[in-house]
Symmetry: C2
Subunit: 417 residues, 2 copies
């Protein structure tokens, strides 16, 4: 375990005081104060699903309204640049991509559709993903395959997926939304390329959490959302990335006016813009993009290396406590133990995971989430989660398992995002 | 002319005092106070391009931020319903559609792509629009035709468009973005249906301005934006409509998780939701939809009949003044003179339309917009525009034409939306 500091005993934090000590040494501890947390007693471990509102983002949303009120339509003189300009900032500060390779636009789903469809123009093979990939990624690929008359493959392992994607299009999540496993981007990109496949990464569960270097790994295509570790708000605009050598070859299936060369000529016939802008479609959501811009600013200030380091330490603490306290109650840690190959959430499998999640929310003031069929997911957003919160959450889960009260929670399904 | 009241002479308002009198009798005059207008001297005639910020919408955006901060991921319990719930409100109050026929989602471009693509599954014929339709509508149709191996037709007239769309898919704008002509929805829907075509209406320039009755006219499909007469903000979420008898037959090409039956089972294989929700794709933009909700509320309060009536009177005044003052300077009114067949903007054609637009903005404190090649467009948003503003704007344009100073404006193209 590479986490800073140590506890009183053999572990990282076998006593709560050790977790307090970790907070005392945490260079990011002040960032929590930048976020609006109306109920600080409640331990929020779902920042991997929906991040929290910062004062920076609130101000950005207010500024967007002021700008609209003041300039009205003349605001477009600057707004028109926002998808690419904020895309460049995300590229530089979060994704390790180059200027001109990233756009803020639409939703992750729509962006994946655009890129998977465009990639299928270049490769005659099947559309492939792994069977455990996030639902929308699977559904989108299946839909593109249906439209194009291609085979759709849901592979049972990463190796099988890469094999199936020869001369085709593969979509993988950088961090698995259930297990938290972080995939080796360079290696998988090279393997896919070696059989002439094109790989689209879904960065939703890694962007703003772990170090990403799209340029160094040779990544070809990527999409992702801004509402998890980037904290830009529910349904905030997503992003897409296209390697600069590839962009000229790809065409968006959705030919919108913002993606047209010389948009404001409003001329006849569609010609795609030269650069990444060809993947814009309709009128961009200005307040949403300004929120993303402000959200990136906080990540820049904190520094992605420190965020990633703290995330590894928080998950190390959680895994250590799960091993010490929970395995005896039938909990299984499904997240990789090597810090370098996991994201910032920990998956705990248990037959009553749904009841445990409900009991944590209703009786223990801890907000985790549940993923079918048996995963209790604890997300540790480094900018807003303290080591003591991580310690306390695992401690409260231990008590629930010990007293068995969670068994009284009625079965059901929870709506989660 | 059906406008209320009369002027001092033969016309509606041949003297400014007559315009003042019209404002005095205007039942909507108080609504202007609900909008943030930091520079009230500036006459904003571009609400047909981007409407203005109301205090209602500003509060809605703030409430969206509060809701996110307070409830975090648990907000999704309610947010999940917003696209359909606010869609129902738009259906009821603005579109004349039924519950379950409208969604707030994505951009107009993405929604048109979804509906045109889905409609092409049901009809084997070409994808058709009129050559004068809004650029993104033309580009989207062209793109869908290319993907499906269909013919794409840009017809030179409405009759030619309907003829070409036999057994195909037609897209028309309800109000023409250049001339302001309002198309007879029932008649064109019936004509298209009679040759087995499917018609998608673009309501961007009519929704929130004129009376629309999708149910009574038998309209099959429609899309539109919320940032013009609905005043929901730059790039605010758009909407789509599908007639209830048709929705079960149509499939969105973009198979996203929000469009799946039993979304949160996160199960394998895509099955579309039963109802209109099948046209959702990715995570909906919550703050944006709340802004649309508040924006609809103002239209409800004002009443669409009164809004439409005032819009007809404002455009009548503008056309009357153009006839009286501007035709002598080579200005041609391109907007229909019958109030019942126009929207709320007036198109004035002039060889130096671009220079006139710039001169109005820079020297006369009037904000119109320009549409290539020769249209000066004056939009009269009834909730925020007074009769005196309409009178003054035409008067200032008259003076520019008389003194010829607009000729000094350098040629160029303006970015407008």
């Amino acid at each position: 375990v590479t986490a800073p500091g140590g506890g009183a005993g053999d572990g990282l934090a076998d006593a709560r005081t050790a977790a307090e000590a970790l907070d005392g040494r945490d260079p990011l501890s002040s960032f929590r104060g930048r976020f609006e947390i109306p109920d600080p007693q409640r331990i929020y471990l779902d920042g991997n699903s929906l991040g929290r509102l910062s004062s920076d983002v609130r101000r950005a949303i207010e500024r967007a309204a002021d700008d609209w009120a003041t300039r009205a339509v003349e605001g477009w003189t600057d707004w028109i640049e926002l998808p690419a300009r904020v895309g460049d900032r995300l590229a530089r500060s979060v994704l390790g991509a180059r200027a001109g390779e990233v756009l803020i636009a639409d939703s992750t789903t729509v962006n994946l559709y655009k890129l998977a469809h465009a990639a299928a123009d270049l490769r005659p093979g099947p559309l492939v993903t792994d069977a455990d990939n996030f639902p929308t990624d699977r559904y989108v690929l299946e839909g593109v395959a249906r439209q194009r008359g291609r085979r759709y493959v849901e592979a049972e392992s990463l190796n099988a997926a890469i094999e199936a994607a020869a001369a085709g299009v593969l979509c993988l999540s950088h961090v698995d939304y259930r297990t938290g496993a972080l995939r080796p981007m360079a290696e998988l990109t090279a393997s896919t390329s070696s059989t002439d496949g094109l790989l689209v990464w879904d960065l939703s569960h890694s962007a703003g959490a772990v170090e990403i270097d799209l340029a160094a790994t040779g990544a070809q295509l990527a999409v992702g959302c801004s509402y998890k570790y980037l904290n830009a708000g529910p349904g905030a605009p997503a992003y897409l990335y296209v390697h600069r050598d590839l962009v000229g070859e790809l065409r968006s299936p959705i030919q919108g006016w913002f993606g047209r060369r010389e948009q404001f000529s409003m001329g006849s016939g569609y010609e795609p813009a030269d650069g990444i802008e060809r993947f814009l479609a309709g009128t961009p959501p200005i307040a949403g993009i300004m929120a993303v811009d402000a959200a990136i600013g906080i990540v820049e200030e904190a520094g992605l290396a420190r965020i990633a380091e703290k995330g590894r330490a928080l998950t190390a603490l959680a895994i250590e406590r799960a091993d010490a306290w929970l395995t005896v109650h039938g909990v299984e840690v499904r997240t990789p133990r090597q810090p370098a190959v996991r994201g910032h959430h920990v998956a705990l499998a248990h037959p009553s995971a749904w009841q445990l999640a409900r009991a944590l929310i209703e009786r223990a003031d801890v907000v985790p989430d549940f993923r079918p069929p048996d995963i209790l997911r604890l997300g540790f957003a480094p900018l807003t989660t303290s080591f003591v919160e991580a310690w306390d959450a695992l401690d409260r889960l231990r008590r629930l398992l010990e007293d068995g009260a969670y068994r009284q929670v009625a079965a059901g399904t929870r709506r989660v995002t």
